[in-house]
Amino acid sequence: LSAHEKRALAAACDWLVGFSQATSSVEEQVDRLFGIWACTSGLNCSRRQLARFRKQARRLPQFEWFRFGSDPLFVLAVYRAMISIGLRHASLSDLNVGYCSVLRDDETAASSLGVIVDLLRANGGDPCWPEHRSLCLPDLPAFVTGGRAEAIKVSRDIMMASSCGTREICAAKVVPALPGIAFSYARDWDIGCTCAVLRACAYLGCGGEPAARWATDWLLDQQQSDGRFDIAMPPADSKAGDSSSLDATIDVVWAIAELNHPGFLLKSLDARFPTR
């Protein structure tokens, strides 16, 4: 983690901690906690950062798990983080059980949701455990010319199949272009797509390639003085006000954390920082 990245994560964490909860939905609060956890992990889980995360996590209200309408990855990762620091949360526990029951008999769905299945298990659940993980990647030309949606889908498929880089997968067809695609979307001023592809680079071990480093440096250039990342937003993703800043800021801190600690969502604190 470079000094610049450390400063950027610390400032982003300050902004996320100060983000108004009064008007936030449960989903937004979970997303925000996920961002704070990414900053905490990116900053090597210092005692101060952990204390901040703990304080924020304790404020997460109870909710009806089946009404939760956001990315299951974020909420399961937040639950995983809370468990790893000794916090319990009844709604998150119910949600883990509920998602396990949904996936228990659906091997097809489970085989394409590798990291979700791993998080459910890491959180004490018992989802279906598929023998094989499905991963169908396009060939190199189709990937390069497939457009933004394809780049994001491929990156997410890589994340799912590799469980955030904690399992080996064969992605040789797209690896030669992956850092260049991250770089290319940075040139197009597209934070969301750049982050998604950079995370895929981190999972496949090519996050240190020059093109990926240039894309990462560009991300850091998008930070405002208050810590949020939102100078560049793609037209398709533009929303009004702080919500768009929240999405972009979470995207960036997650990417930076993965580039430095691939798979931090799944690894236990002790495994990642044995000397703590």
Binding site: L140, V144, T145, P179, G180, S184, A186, R187, W214, D217
Partner: protein, 304 residues
């Protein structure tokens, strides 16, 4: 094998297209240096491709040589313009010097070059660093300079020699990168490139290649692929994939569409020529360069 044969087919089709459009390369106003762009590019193309194609196939270039020589020898107005306006010498020199590379001499231009040299041109011009490299390279190839352009001060003054991250490069900066490499490596190499500069150049060029292939912009993509040829980086999936995409985009009539070409205007010959001639010439240089490098490599294998 498939890349080689598809490149050979595109070369044949593209070269025929150029030969069939020679008249369109001529400037409407000989007194305007701005109108020499097309004929200058044709001349540069003719001279350099002539250095790479096998002796047995050189006769195919003869119509181009005859056309260019006839145009320059007939219109002495151009040589006179060169003498009258030394500060605007670049387009005139870059049209004539490639013919000199191919072995032609036109007395009026030779005299004009003598006048320019005595007056201290082209050294007196303040030129963009990569344009300076271009003139140094062409003058060297044409026998007017003893040494080639080097990885020295002129290179260090270019965008590639000065900057770190290419993420903010404008299209103009990218042209500077491709042209800097083209003139330091003799278009498609083989060239001796300092290791550190080679590694950095490959990283910059490959990142930009993905970007311009994605857009797509076949003009810049082809120039970047020429750079990779020269940097000996053409046995990669990325190179093969991008070359394949260019060959796929090549039109059946032999033209390679430029970034501003509109399919709905293809029936307009003026639109077709203006928006395809440059990209077609660059694509043909890529084809000729690739075939040359592959032949060179197989000759090495045979002699080994």
């Amino acid at each position: 094998v498939s890349t080689f044969s598809s490149i050979s087919s595109c070369w044949d089709a593209g070269f025929s297209w150029v030969v069939n459009h020679l008249e369109s390369f001529l400037p409407a106003d000989l007194n305007s240096p701005d109108q020499l762009k097309e004929i200058t590019e044709l001349s540069l193309f003719y001279a350099h491709v002539g250095l790479w194609i096998p002796a047995a196939e050189k006769a195919t270039l003869a119509p181009l040589g005859a056309f260019l020589h006839s145009f320059l020898a007939k219109n002495m107005q151009l040589a006179n313009q060169l003498r009258r306006f030394p500060s605007q010498c670049n387009p005139y020199l870059l049209t004539y010097l490639p013919l000199r590379i191919a072995g032609f001499r036109i007395p009026g231009f030779e005299e004009a070059i003598g006048v320019l040299n005595r007056a201290g041109y082209p050294e007196a011009l303040e030129t963009m660093p990569y344009r300076e490299l271009e003139l140094q390279y062409v003058a060297w190839k044409a026998g007017l300079r003893k040494t080639p352009a080097s990885w020295g001060s002129a290179y260090r003054a270019t965008v590639l020699g000065r900057t770190g991250s290419p993420v903010y490069f404008t299209l103009f900066d990218v042209y500077s990168v491709t042209h800097t490499l083209i003139y330091l490596t003799g278009f498609c190499g083989p060239a001796t490139v300092p290791t550190g500069e080679s590694r950095r150049a490959i990283a910059v060029v490959e990142a930009l290649l993905v970007h311009y292939w994605r857009k797509p912009d076949w003009d810049v993509t082809a120039e970047l692929l020429i750079n990779l040829l020269a940097l000996d980086r053409y046995d990669t999936q990325l190179f093969e994939g991008a070359v394949g995409a260019i060959m796929h985009a090549w039109r059946e009539d032999g033209a390679l569409p430029g970034p501003h070409f509109r399919k709905e205007s293809e029936a307009d010959p003026e639109h077709l020529f203006r928006n395809c001639y440059h990209t077609t010439l660059v694509g043909l240089i890529l084809c000729a360069g690739y075939l040359y490098r592959v032949r060179l490599r197989s000759d090495c294998f045979v002699s080994a």
